[in-house]
C-alpha cells in the first residue's frame, strides 16, 4: 500500500474544534464506508509524524473528506485544522481497514453508536446509505459533550428526516434550553429504547474513545446482541 498525494480543495469548519478537509486525490482507488487513511506530515528538516483519520465522505463522493478534531496539545491535528490551506498537499495511505465497514448489501437494520469524533466513520455510512437509497433501517446514537460539539448537525437532521434513517443525540455536559433529547452517557437503557431488539439482528457499529466503545459494546452484548454483530473501532483516550 503506497503513499498517495492529495491536494486540499477546501477546508470547512464543522465546530469550533473540528475541520473537514476536502482533498483531491487523483489516484484514489475508491473506498468503503467506515475505512480510514493514514496521513503523514513531513517537516522541512525531515522529521515526520503519522496519524490515522476516518474517511467522512461516502464511497463515490467527488472528493475525499477527512474530519479532524483539534487536540489542543496534539502534534498533528493543530497543523491540519489551523495551518493546512487550500492548495497544500498531504501524503496519505489507504483506504485502510475491512473490518469496520458497511457496504449496504443486505436489509439488516444498522445501529450506529458514536462517541465524540467516533461519528466520522459512521457519518460515511449514513451518507452511503443515502447515496444508495438503501431501504435498510439505520439509526445513529451520537454522544457529544455539548450541542456546539455535534459534528454534521444540520446534515444529520436532514438525513434523519427519512423513513429508513434516524438520529438520537445525547449531550453529556450541557442541558440546552428547550432540549427534548436525551442527556447523559449512552447506556443500556438508551440503547434499548432507540435501538432494535437482539432478535432483529441489527448490525452494530460502535466508534469513539476506548472506554466509550467498551462500555457500549458490553451494553449491547448485555442486551442480547451477538458479539460478532457488534463491530468496534477505538479511537484512544481522546477520541481521535
Amino acid at each position: 500500500m503506497r503513499w498517495l498525494v492529495g491536494t486540499v480543495a477546501e477546508t470547512v469548519p464543522e465546530t469550533p474544534q473540528a475541520v473537514t478537509v476536502h482533498l483531491d486525490v487523483p489516484e484514489w482507488p475508491g473506498h468503503r464506508a467506515g475505512q480510514h487513511v493514514d496521513v503523514r506530515l513531513t517537516a522541512e528538516d525531515g522529521y515526520s509524524a503519522q496519524r490515522s483519520y476516518s474517511i467522512a465522505s461516502a464511497p463515490g463522493a467527488e472528493r475525499l473528506q477527512l474530519t479532524i478534531e483539534r487536540i489542543d496539545d496534539g502534534e498533528v491535528s493543530p497543523y491540519l485544522t489551523t495551518v493546512l490551506d487550500v492548495g497544500d498537499q498531504l501524503e496519505l495511505r489507504g483506504p485502510i481497514g475491512g473490518y469496520f465497514v458497511w457496504d449496504g448489501g443486505d436489509s439488516r437494520p444498522v445501529f450506529l453508536v458514536a462517541g465524540g469524533s467516533g461519528v466520522v466513520p459512521l457519518m460515511a455510512m449514513m451518507r452511503h446509505h443515502a447515496g444508495l437509497g438503501s431501504e435498510a433501517d439505520m439509526h445513529v446514537v451520537y454522544s457529544a459533550r455539548t450541542l456546539a460539539d455535534v459534528l454534521y448537525r444540520d446534515e444529520l437532521e436532514r438525513l434523519a428526516d427519512h423513513p429508513h434513517r434516524g438520529v438520537t443525540i445525547t449531550l453529556t455536559r450541557e442541558h440546552p434550553e428547550g432540549w427534548t433529547g436525551p442527556l447523559g452517557r449512552v447506556d443500556a437503557a438508551l440503547l434499548e429504547a432507540v435501538g432494535w431488539p437482539a432478535w432483529a439482528r441489527p448490525r452494530c457499529y460502535v466508534c469513539g474513545p476506548t472506554p466509550f466503545v467498551e462500555a457500549v459494546a458490553d451494553a449491547l452484548v448485555g442486551l442480547g446482541h451477538t458479539p460478532t454483530d457488534v463491530k468496534t473501532e477505538r479511537f484512544g483516550p481522546t477520541g481521535g
Partner: protein, 201 residues
C-alpha cells in the same frame, strides 16, 4: 522523502549542536511509549530481585528495604529510539552498582524483567560504574504510573527502551539473551551516539 509540509514542526525544537545524538529531535513533553497496559502493582506486593546465573536469588528487597538503600540525584539526557530526546532530566534512584554490590557473579550479561512481561538485555558493564540506576523519582516527584512507577531502570547512555519501566529485577546471565525488542529487530546494545537502532546497524 516525498511531500514536505511547510509550517509543520511537530512538537520538537531544533537540536543544539553537539548535544543530541544523530537523528534525534528535542521534545518539550515526555512521550509515553508502552507495549501493554500500565501495570498496577501495589507497593506491599512489590519486590526487586537479583537472580544470579545459577538461577539462585542473590538479593531481594521489598519496597521499604529498597527505599532504605542509598539513593542519589542525577541529571541526564535521555534518547528514545523513536527519535525524541530530552536533555537535562532529573531523576532520583539507587545506582545499579549498589544493587549489585555484594552479589557474587561471573556473569557478563543481564536481563531486566518487569511487571507486564517486558524484558531488555544489557551487558553488565553497561549497568555498572555509575552508568545505571533503579530510579523511583522524576523531576522531584514519584514516578507516574505511565512512566514506570514505582521504579524503572535508567540507563541513559543507551536508547531508552533499555531503561525498562515497571522493573522488578535483574537476571544475571552467562550468555547474552535478547529481550522483548532486541529479539524483534532492535539493536542488541542500542548506543544512540552510534545510531544503533536496528539489527545490523
Amino acid at each position: 522523502m516525498g511531500i514536505v509540509n511547510p509550517g509543520f514542526g511537530g512538537r520538537r525544537r531544533q537540536p543544539g549542536a553537539g548535544l543530541v545524538p544523530p537523528g534525534q529531535y528535542l521534545v518539550d513533553d515526555f512521550p509515553v511509549l508502552s507495549a501493554g497496559p500500565t501495570p498496577q502493582t501495589a507497593l506491599e506486593d512489590w519486590d526487586f530481585t537479583v537472580v544470579d546465573e545459577t538461577g539462585a536469588v542473590a538479593a531481594r528487597w521489598t519496597w521499604p528495604e529498597f527505599r532504605a538503600l542509598p539513593a542519589e540525584d542525577i541529571t541526564v539526557d535521555i534518547h528514545c529510539v523513536t527519535k525524541w530526546s530530552k536533555l537535562g532530566t532529573h531523576w532520583r534512584g539507587v545506582p545499579v552498582d549498589t544493587v549489585l554490590d555484594g552479589v557474587e557473579t561471573s556473569a557478563e550479561f543481564a536481563l531486566a524483567f518487569c511487571d507486564g512481561g517486558y524484558t531488555t538485555n544489557l551487558a553488565l558493564e553497561d549497568l555498572l560504574d555509575g552508568r545505571a540506576w533503579v530510579a523511583f523519582a522524576y523531576e522531584g516527584s514519584d514516578l507516574e504510573p505511565e512512566h514506570g512507577a514505582p521504579a524503572r531502570l535508567l540507563v541513559p547512555h543507551l536508547y531508552l527502551w533499555k531503561s525498562a519501566k515497571w522493573v522488578r529485577g535483574l537476571r544475571l546471565l552467562a550468555e547474552d539473551e535478547p529481550g522483548f525488542w532486541e529479539g524483534l529487530g532492535y539493536h542488541n546494545r542500542g548506543d544512540p551516539w552510534r545510531q544503533q537502532r536496528y539489527w545490523g546497524d
